[in-house]
Symmetry: C2
Subunit: 395 residues, 2 copies
Amino acid sequence: MRMALENIKVLDLTRVLAGPYATMVLADLGADIIKIEMPEIGDDSRQFGPHVEGESAYFMSLNRNKRSMTLNLKTAKGREILLQMIKEVDVVVENFRPGTMEKLGLGYEVLRDVNPKLVYAVASGFGHTGPYRKRAAYDAIVQAMGGLMSITGHPGREPTRVGTSIGDITAGLFTAIGILTALMNRNESGMGQKVDVAMLDCQVAILENAIARHVVTGEIPGLGGNRHPAIVPFETFQTSDGEIMIAAGNDILWAKLCIAMEQPRLIADERFKTNPLRNQYYEELKPVINGVIQLKTTKQWQEILDDAGVPNGPINRIDEVLADPQVQAREMIVEVAHPVAGKLKMPGIPIKLSDTAGQIRRPSPMLGQHTEEILKELLKYDEAQIEDLKEQSIF
Amino acid sequence: MRMALENIKVLDLTRVLAGPYATMVLADLGADIIKIEMPEIGDDSRQFGPHVEGESAYFMSLNRNKRSMTLNLKTAKGREILLQMIKEVDVVVENFRPGTMEKLGLGYEVLRDVNPKLVYAVASGFGHTGPYRKRAAYDAIVQAMGGLMSITGHPGREPTRVGTSIGDITAGLFTAIGILTALMNRNESGMGQKVDVAMLDCQVAILENAIARHVVTGEIPGLGGNRHPAIVPFETFQTSDGEIMIAAGNDILWAKLCIAMEQPRLIADERFKTNPLRNQYYEELKPVINGVIQLKTTKQWQEILDDAGVPNGPINRIDEVLADPQVQAREMIVEVAHPVAGKLKMPGIPIKLSDTAGQIRRPSPMLGQHTEEILKELLKYDEAQIEDLKEQSIF
């Protein structure tokens, strides 16, 4: 079956997370991703544990649907081959520290001269402009500097890092959007361009209403805990065996919750009639709800509230996420067979296209697995030429 | 100047966050977003505080670059007009509870028959398939059910909600990617399709290495606090006046950090020579670093570590993010003038395109501000026809 991006060729110089996440998203929807890796070393994340039969589970999760070619860009011949490949692809993506490509003689201007239709995308910590442009960053640094940590956590406690590398991942998503947008533009203009995405910028872009609240009220948003800043009840409650998230987003859902809790008198209670009132009398309302919710298990409340149409959910651990019937029905956990590591479960494809569905067509590549295949296919090299390169340790 | 998506017309039926975030990203890059709102009521988020001169700062932050048209889809004439508009646009996006469009007689099959080139995108809580497909969800529910809360927070404490609505926002980003991908495909096939994105699916997709770690080791990832799960030192440290995030991601950075701390003897210390050793002797290393870092202010350490090339950053509050020189240099805080509310600061555009840069061309619209303009432009209605619709309260 046709895939949406199957005619898009991407030269992928990225390592670790932000860049590889962007190219994984494109790969899942059909793009041909040629991952260029340093001979013998490869993507740093090949070293990240845990390993299965010597293969990094981290790397395998992020590099499915890609082919790997080794190429030593520190050699003149390696750079020459890269420039030849640039002519044959639609997109190049890198997430080096800014300046690295220029030092190699492979900066954007050079590549654009070789292929004016090229889309050149870069995901870096702070971007290619501005006073911090030469600095390296990691996810934790941009989570800290971008303000997200200052609003994540429980009141009176410390700022908290999000448990997944959301700084890298959002940069990967914005980079994928930038690449597709530049390709759309190229369909009309015939010209490529540079896409410059910074992890710090993306952190600012996802702050949602925190900036609006601050600039309008002058207050500095603090640690919000698990409670919604403006809606009551909309937070976690203790059950007899754990916790449950309950979100009664409006007065109708509040009434449904009261009935589900077998507390119909609360609907008529003047203190709790509207959301502004429930905010005002929060300190009186919270213990009333606590008192009821703590009497049953999380599972019992889930059934009661689902039947009543009140949005709710358990705080699932990772093993519970994998077992969730909806997650399974949506194929959001897939099992990919790797020739060395065997079968590995990983997240599925969250973009469900009705006519050109994404597919997981191949496991993550072994280092340099496709070098010869790509040299023949893309550059029409013959066996003798390949043998020659091999002897020179170019790949 | 040309913008990349300026020839793309989007009929935007979305409300609140996930959908409007997706269409804002497209709008910022040039797409013409026609926001359809219920007469007199409009997008629910117009009611979300804080307000400036009666205008919601939340709504204004998410709906710049869009036009607003009111249309009562509960009337036959309103639905007829929507179907006429469907013929003239490239994309329709909605984030209603699944089934709502079908009840209105505006389900995907109906719209596709009217315009086979249409890309129909939907962002919902649980998606349009699977056992939970009829349920409503809010951000907090999918953060809980998707596993992210179970790995966010400090060890021994409670699971923690991310302080921004990352469930909505990642769904918005994946929806934007899905729309652009379907448009890319349409350029070749001539046909539109349906894009079905679920907030819960997106939470699973961003779990990064948590799933790999679990399936390989059998351990259930828990609350990780602010410490990197595998790299030392890579966490927050107390300074004399606050905290600082320090990320010494490899042995070279570790050596640089030791010198910056004026503790060169640590480089030679056998216990701390490699990252695996620093993990093993973490409990001995942490107090040593603590003892040094607490002697100077955050700002002093920033300067010292920046000079030494050690990735670091302060844990900025929202007001500090707005004042950051890099954030300012990258135009990641922009000021948009609204005709009623005046100037409002909001996040800028994180996708920097070299040749077709995104622009903020207009503030968020007043409810129904562009109804007549759009009826004339898109459907060629004349004044008499518009007057007639107005009398029937269709808009």
